[in-house]
Symmetry: C2
Subunit: 316 residues, 2 copies
Amino acid sequence: MLATAADLQPMEMSFLGNTLDRQSTKRGDKAYLADLLNRPDTEIVLSTARTLVFSSGDRLELGHRLDAAKALGADPVEMVFLGLREESGRALFATTLAQDDEELDARADLQLIDLRTLALQNALSPEDMGALAQARALIHWHRTHRFCSRCGEKTVMAEAGYRRDCPSCESNHFPRTDPCVIMLITDETGDRALLGRPARLPEGIYTTLAGFMEPGETIEQAVRRETLEESGITVGEVRLISNQPWPFPANLMLGCIGTATSFDIEIEDDELEACKWCDRDEVRQMVGHSHPEGHLIPPSISIAHELITGWLEGHL
Amino acid sequence: MLATAADLQPMEMSFLGNTLDRQSTKRGDKAYLADLLNRPDTEIVLSTARTLVFSSGDRLELGHRLDAAKALGADPVEMVFLGLREESGRALFATTLAQDDEELDARADLQLIDLRTLALQNALSPEDMGALAQARALIHWHRTHRFCSRCGEKTVMAEAGYRRDCPSCESNHFPRTDPCVIMLITDETGDRALLGRPARLPEGIYTTLAGFMEPGETIEQAVRRETLEESGITVGEVRLISNQPWPFPANLMLGCIGTATSFDIEIEDDELEACKWCDRDEVRQMVGHSHPEGHLIPPSISIAHELITGWLEGHL
């Protein structure tokens, strides 16, 4: 029995290292949560709509003290409980500040850093990056779900931030996590990989195809549909080999390898501006920053990087 | 390279057989869709809030003709495009009727059958059951997302039913699919499986543990968290082996096998009314309807059945 790639190499990709005890059975216990929130060693992750808010200083620390968070206008009613730290048992909460990014960034005692930049800088532990992924996904959900999608009334936070309730029609709403397939498609020999260039990515980057799963689909069907739509390539066999929470804003990436049953590329939709079959020599140049046309693969924080390098090294 | 269990045994579980060409790149082409809708051989799946609506008759047919759907009050503006049939190229749409179930069921020319009953009866082809899973998931989403979760205004259907737009704050909303882990946990020898009895299931049924994934989690983390919460059992190694769309209302079941690293069961939350380790002899009795206490496993339409019988037969 093999573990998944995600289990074998937990430090390769970002956002896999969350070790918080979420204590989900205690989310309804308001007295317990109030006690946790008021403990002197409790940490509060602060975020704006777009980015995370840290104290200034050389050493980046995940959380703020409750009094400091309150002084910045954090609302104790809208606190999301993330969980207890594995080693120390310290409690972690997260909440949103109402101020503009510019206003906060102008302060000498604060610094604003977005989650993607943090991942690329590798400045925090895998545990902290996992906790921040959880925090940002939940904060985004609360920010975009303040009204009831069934009746239009204002909703209120419940279950320590893992539910929003409508006082009018009594609907309960739960955080959403969007499953996406991301796939390394090889030709029938396994010696060439299908890589594409989404227009939204930085210049030169070629990556695996990917897309959101749709209602009523299996993972295999989604891989085949997305590959056909984006490249005109038909896919036979599909295997899921890895997965990653991707908090931009709240995706679950399902990393697959698939075998093409056709060869001629035809870009059908407007997702990709280019798409090509690459042999291992070309991909090795992309990985080693020595490609003649300057083509690159995505950074190592992503499951795309893992899929591409895993194929290159023959691990898949 | 092994295919996933879902690929190997596509007829074992329900909702895996969808072969519709969803034509997602054409969803913005209103003239094309209007033409499709008005073709004489186009089929319209009709649904109420809870159940599917079929014509009376011995042979169950998936869709209604457009004129018949209109006569029942179907609104052509709220039609969801499901796709084109693989063999015939016929178009399939789906929409909701506003009438009460009772009112429709009283008519001699109609019969109401819910999707779970249809799956258990095995009365339709795997292709049709796949299309109905897609239809029901989308219909549920439209029914519960008529208002903008960002600002509370009424939304309108867009992209042939795969988006709802807010005319006020200009948010775009997309259908949701909720990933759930469902896991066959064995003891360290692999000879005993952990099965639980959720209070909501029919009497006597024991099944695999399961639960919704949370923001910021990997599949492995979700399997470990849910198993610990429900049974007190800690889990080491986890492998994903199968998946299934489960349209009640819109889940993606991620079927895993995991190995326990502890043995003493302690029911921590209120999900399960019982939980036990079962050896193969006992599970064989459950499968064969010969268990002394009348215990059973779930029906073969479910991924739980596949996980349990796959383990029993040594396939996992």
